[in-house]
């Protein structure tokens, strides 16, 4: 079955120059391994498509049940250069939580999803 990341995680995003960062945090500890397995840098890059022009990097924080993503070249130049409404990447968090991941039915029911 497909499930929206919004059901598995909460998130916060911000900026560093033209790079947006998105911290994705498992809503329950037991969701974290699923995030590690399914929410890869490649899939996140694919999810954002043309919005992210550079590469996507992923870092793991198992102690917080969280992943941190760096989305390079995403903010129209960043800082005061950018013409975007969201020049500081504040809403990239919820944009990422729109992502749908594939999860086997049995695993979903084990996790109470």
């Amino acid at each position: 079955m497909k499930i929206e990341l919004l059901k598995l995680a909460h998130a916060r995003s911000g900026d560093k120059g033209d790079t947006a960062n998105v911290g994705v945090i498992a809503l329950k500890d037991e969701f974290y391994p699923l995030l590690v397995r399914e929410v890869t840098a490649e899939k996140v890059k694919e999810h954002f498509g043309a919005i992210v022009k550079g590469k996507v990097e992923r870092f793991e924080l198992p102690n917080l049940g969280a992943l941190n993503f760096l989305l390079h070249e995403s903010l129209g130049g960043g800082g005061t250069l950018s013409l975007m409404t969201d020049a500081q990447g504040k809403t990239f968090s919820t944009a990422l939580l729109r992502m749908k991941i594939e999860i086997p039915e049995t695993e979903a029911s084990e996790l109470g999803l």
Binding site: R12, G14, G17, I51, N63, N68, G76, G79, T80, L83
Partner: protein, 455 residues
């Protein structure tokens, strides 16, 4: 030695809730108040203000705040640390001295003044000495943009702050002090931690990271269960309650709104994060993958286990340079066919700008209500969408061309698609663009000074 120290966050950026620091002082017991006023863009704005008026160039809000809270801070022995000095630290310190005197506190307040971060006037010296100043992101040399530089500041860490505290300063003001140093310094000072005890330095740094954005750690901008976060109207700003062994608790005053829990702290920990194992400040390289969080009662989160590594040989420098002009304007189109109307207006406007022969580096049209935040991920809007705002921006090197663009928006009301409004603000404002040139500079080239001014 105190058995615990409470450091309160009073301001997450220049423009944050003015009442927050006042409530931190009055709402319960604290030992230190830290206030962060500087975003990257702030330094160049302040530099411009100083060019127009030599006595300006710092956060006036800080001086007004002290007018209100200084007597209580003196009475309760609350020490205040801030980077409100911007590009005119001495001017800010003088204004604070005047306030202290007017409040009848002469002889009772020592003001710590930290300078040396502003290297604008030293850039040519560095270039002459062939000190390599390269853009950390692009590798390009400073000489390419030297004539456009507006401000250049080194990020200073906690050491000068600790020195000022050691000299008995009650109010400390500096320029580009790191946000985290403003929280770290009181803990170093109170607990006599060594600057080579990397785990402790990392601990104080991460405590600073958690509270430096104000209420973002205590329920503001928090996605987790946001609907049920109580009383954000009276949100309490976060407080670090630290212990000599390096453990600390994030909390807030009793009776305030908002919420401190593991989730709110996690969200803030990840805010503006790069590589979590290498959080680099002038003081330490902190490892965010070692942080252990635990609920410690209502609105209390205990933080422990933090590890750090030795700091680097470099300071980070933030250089702002002028990089052209921009303007952004909006128009609102209503049902029916709101999105189609806004799209047509976009095409008409582009065609007119083209005919005028205006030169821009970037033109961006966004449709607020449809795609301004999530782009194509939001999908197609519903057919009966009640309204759409066209938000149209240009950026270029010619101020005249950007100026000319601002006169093309209003005519669309009478010469474009129907049922359009939302132009009450007048023509869009032309703004000068400040771009950033982040670089590194060897620490031994920078001299920081700590002076004490008696009010």
């Amino acid at each position: 030695m105190k058995e615990k120290v409470r450091v309160a966050s009073g301001q997450g950026f220049w423009g944050d809730l003015l009442t927050a620091p006042v409530e931190q002082v009055r709402g319960g017991q604290i030992d230190y108040l830290m206030l962060d006023y500087l975003a990257e863009v702030t330094m160049s704005i302040m530099q411009k203000q100083k060019q127009r008026r030599p006595e300006a160039g710092y956060a006036r809000d800080f001086v007004s705040l002290l007018q209100e809270i200084l007597p209580e801070c003196v009475e309760k022995d609350i020490k205040v640390l801030s980077n409100a000095g911007g590009v005119n630290v001495e001017g800010c310190a003088k204004a604070i001295k005047t306030v202290a005197q007017e409040l009848g506190l002469s002889g009772k307040v020592k003001i710590g003044v930290i300078t040396g971060d502003d290297i604008l006037l030293r850039l040519d010296e560095f270039l002459e000495k062939s000190v390599e100043i390269k853009n950390m992101d692009t590798g390009e040399s400073l000489s390419l943009i030297r004539d456009k530089v507006q401000s250049a500041n080194v990020y200073l860490g906690a050491k000068p702050l600790v020195e000022a505290l050691g000299k008995g300063a009650q109010i400390i003001v500096g320029g580009r002090l790191t946000d985290t140093g403003l929280t770290l310094a009181p803990l170093m000072h109170e607990f006599n931690w060594s600057f080579e005890d990397w785990d402790k330095v990392a601990t104080g740094t991460i405590a600073g990271h958690i509270i430096e954005c104000g209420a973002q750690a205590s329920g503001g901008n928090c996605q987790y269960d946001w609907q049920n976060i109580p009383d954000l109207a009276n949100v309490g700003f976060p407080i670090v309650e630290a212990y000599p062994n390096g453990d600390f608790v994030i909390t807030k005053h009793e009776g305030t709104g908002g919420r401190v829990n593991v989730q709110s702290v996690k969200e803030q920990l990840l805010y503006e994060m790069g590589d979590p194992r290498e959080y680099i400040t002038p003081d330490v390289v902190a490892d965010f993958t070692t942080i252990h969080l635990k609920d410690d009662g209502e609105n209390r989160v205990k933080v422990s286990g933090i590890k750090g590594k030795p700091n680097t040989e470099f300071y980070k420098v933030s250089i702002a340079y002028s990089a052209g002009w921009k303007a952004v304007g909006t128009l609102v189109y209503s049902y029916p066919d709101a999105f189609e109307k806004a799209k047509m207006a976009d095409l008409i406007l582009r065609s007119r700008l083209d005919k005028l022969g205006l030169q821009f580096d970037v033109i961006l049209a966004e449709f607020v209500g449809v795609n301004a935040t999530h782009g194509h991920l939001a999908g197609e809007p519903p057919k009966d969408i009640p309204e759409v705002q066209l938000r149209f921006g240009v950026r270029g090197q010619s101020k005249e061309d950007v100026e000319r663009f601002t006169k093309e928006l209003a005519p669309l009301i009478l010469t474009g698609p129907p049922s359009v409004t939302g132009f009450a603000g007048g023509r869009p404002k032309v703004e000068e663009i400040m771009a950033y040139f982040p670089a590194l500079i060897p620490k031994d080239l920078i001299e920081t000074r700590v002076e004490i001014l008696d009010a």
